[in-house]
């Protein structure tokens, strides 16, 4: 117990090691556009849909802490395989994070994603816990990140919960200190393996997303 406590202390570190993290509050407001793709393998059949989603989000970074919410919606259209129905879709989500060091942090989040088609309605509840590694690329205004997450307890309308849920994403953010402009390009992939039953089901959701917005920095 004592050792675990010490490890937590070491991981969270002292603020003296991260003066930059402890001194700034930044609020970012994004608008974004993304191209998601969803692939489902069901009983040997394979259907793929894709589309364009648009939405936005707000991020608040206060020293070592991060809070973010976002919402996107759009359509998904079959482009390969057995899929026949167009569907409306969207998702809302939020995440919180803490930077253990300037280059690594822990994050937890939740997203709700819904698909509506002539064949019915399906909702996904997706909790996540993960880690994010980030670093500046030679200039404080250019920052890259790589995120991996475990998705425990995913629930899907009308289906058993997947027994494997993992996600990964990477991206680059440009936020010049002198300007209030911020832009981010990100690619992410989620993998869901459902338990083998009467029919085996595997799903994958990936998307590339470009967000631009404004960032307001407030020194504390």
């Amino acid at each position: 117990m004592r050792r675990a406590f010490v490890i937590v202390l070491v991981l969270t570190g002292s603020s003296a090691a991260r003066p930059a993290l402890a001194q700034e509050v930044a609020l970012s407001v994004f608008g974004g556009i993304g191209q998601p793709r969803s692939t489902v393998v069901l009983a040997g059949g394979r259907e793929r849909v894709r589309g364009i989603w648009a939405g936005g989000g707000i991020e608040l970074e206060a020293g070592r802490f991060l809070m973010a919410v976002s919402g996107y919606r759009g359509e998904l259209t079959p482009f390969e395989g057995d899929a026949t129905f167009d569907r409306d879709a969207g998702e809302i989500g939020g995440r919180v994070g803490i930077a253990l060091f300037p280059w690594i942090g822990l994050e937890g989040g939740f997203a709700a994603r819904a698909f509506s088609a002539a064949s019915g309605y399906q909702r996904w509840n997706i909790p996540s816990v993960g880690a994010v590694v980030s670093g500046t690329l030679g200039h404080p205004a250019i920052r890259a990140h790589f995120r991996v997450a475990y998705l425990p307890g995913v629930s899907v309308t009308g289906l058993e919960s997947p027994d494997v849920g993992v996600a990964g994403s990477a991206g680059i953010t440009v936020a010049p200190e002198e300007a209030r402009f911020v832009a981010r390009l990100e690619y992410g992939l989620e993998r869901y393996d459902f338990p083998p039953g009467t029919t085996s089901r595997l799903e994958q959701f990936d998307q590339i997303r470009l967000s631009v917005g404004a960032r307001l920095r407030v020194a504390r």
């Binding site: 200039h139 790589f146 993998r191």
Partner: protein, 349 residues
């Protein structure tokens, strides 16, 4: 317009006539007093008494205090010589009320007159204040004299009240006065730094005879001090640039390649081969390439970093200037504190 001008001219003429009349009346009173004194010197007591009584009957509050006091005193002296002691006491009391500072010279008057005067004075509640009209006082060492005279001996309360705000804090002194006493007030002694530069009303009253009060108005101001000039603002040319061009960051290129490769590797490592063959995905490649380009940009972009030596130089420069400026400010404060106080009487008691 013409009527207003006429009214002004008439008003001025009337004022001149009244002033001229008062002046003539005073001159007449002085002449008659001189005649009375001459009659006394010629031992024509009755003639002197008649003139003085007439004068005494004409005295008003506008009559100069010296003249009125002289009339009362001369009459009192005559009454003592006639052993009319009650009348003498009444005249002496009137003299003391008119001028609490009046005293009789023992070398000029006989002891009976002195005794009669003193008895009358000590029985007459009266209070007077006097102060120099224009004084310069050295703070810390100098003091401002206020002379208090009483008829009836007693305890005198002396209070300095700001003239424009009687309710604010004031400074009080309590003294026992038998006849005439001078109180010296230090305005900026260590314990009396309370007195800001402004106009004050000095009020005195006999503690047991509240009706007897005296007051005067004084203005207290500091004479300008010979202060030291502050150092001029620092010339911006003396500061050194605090930021300098940083060397290209090779690590940014390495990080860009690593993060870019990680982006490309996401579908290769995470995707289920049964869903999608583990192949390079366009979206991942686009993001990976963008990150790698970011690394290249980071390598070539102009970066600046702090130059600690120059920062230290500038901090020392500013610190030295601030120290010098503070020292001048402190010296000027000391000089201002030491500059003499100029105290002027604005309104006589």
């Amino acid at each position: 317009m013409r009527r207003a001008a006429l009214s002004s001219v008439l008003g001025l003429a009337l004022a001149a006539m009244i002033a001229g009349g008062l002046e003539a009346q005073q001159q007449d009173s002085e002449d008659r007093l001189a005649r009375a004194v001459a009659a006394l010197d010629a031992t024509e007591v009755e003639a002197a008494k008649r003139i003085l009584r007439e004068l005494g009957a004409e005295l008003t509050s506008r009559t100069p205090a010296d003249l009125a006091t002289e009339v009362y005193i001369r009459l009192g002296v005559i009454y003592v010589s006639e052993t009319l002691l009650d009348s003498a006491a009444a005249e002496f009391a009137a003299a003391v009320r008119r001028n609490p500072f009046v005293r009789m010279d023992p070398e000029r008057y006989n002891p009976d007159v002195i005794q009669a005067f003193e008895e009358a004075r000590r029985a007459t509640p009266a209070l007077g204040l006097r102060a120099p009209y224009d004084t310069t006082v050295q703070p810390d060492t100098g003091s401002w004299p206020v002379t208090v005279a009483v008829g009836l001996p007693g305890v005198v309360e002396l209070r300095f009240v700001p003239a424009d705000d009687a309710s604010s804090e004031s400074f009080a002194r309590t003294i026992a006065v038998d006849s005439v006493q001078t109180v010296r007030t230090s305005f900026t002694s260590p314990g009396a730094a309370w007195l800001p530069m402004r106009e004050y009303r000095v009020v005195a009253w006999l503690r047991d005879v509240a009706a007897d009060t005296a007051s005067m108005r004084v203005r207290v101001e500091r004479l300008p001090a010979d202060t030291v000039a502050h150092p001029p603002p620092l010339d911006s040319g003396r500061f050194l640039p605090e930021r300098r061009r940083a060397a290209p960051s090779v690590s940014s290129l390495v990080k860009g390649v690593l993060f870019g490769a990680a982006a490309v590797a996401i579908p290769l490592s995470l995707a289920n081969p049964d869903v999608q063959p583990r192949s390079v995905q366009g979206g991942a490649v686009a993001v990976g390439a963008a990150i790698a380009v970011g690394g290249v940009v980071g390598l070539t972009i102009k970066r600046y970093e702090l130059n600690p030596q120059n920062v230290l130089h500038n901090v020392r420069l500013r610190t030295e200037w601030e120290r010098e400026n503070r020292a001048v400010a402190e010296e000027n404060a000391r000089r201002r504190h030491r500059s003499p106080l100029h105290i002027t009487l604005k309104e006589e008691p």
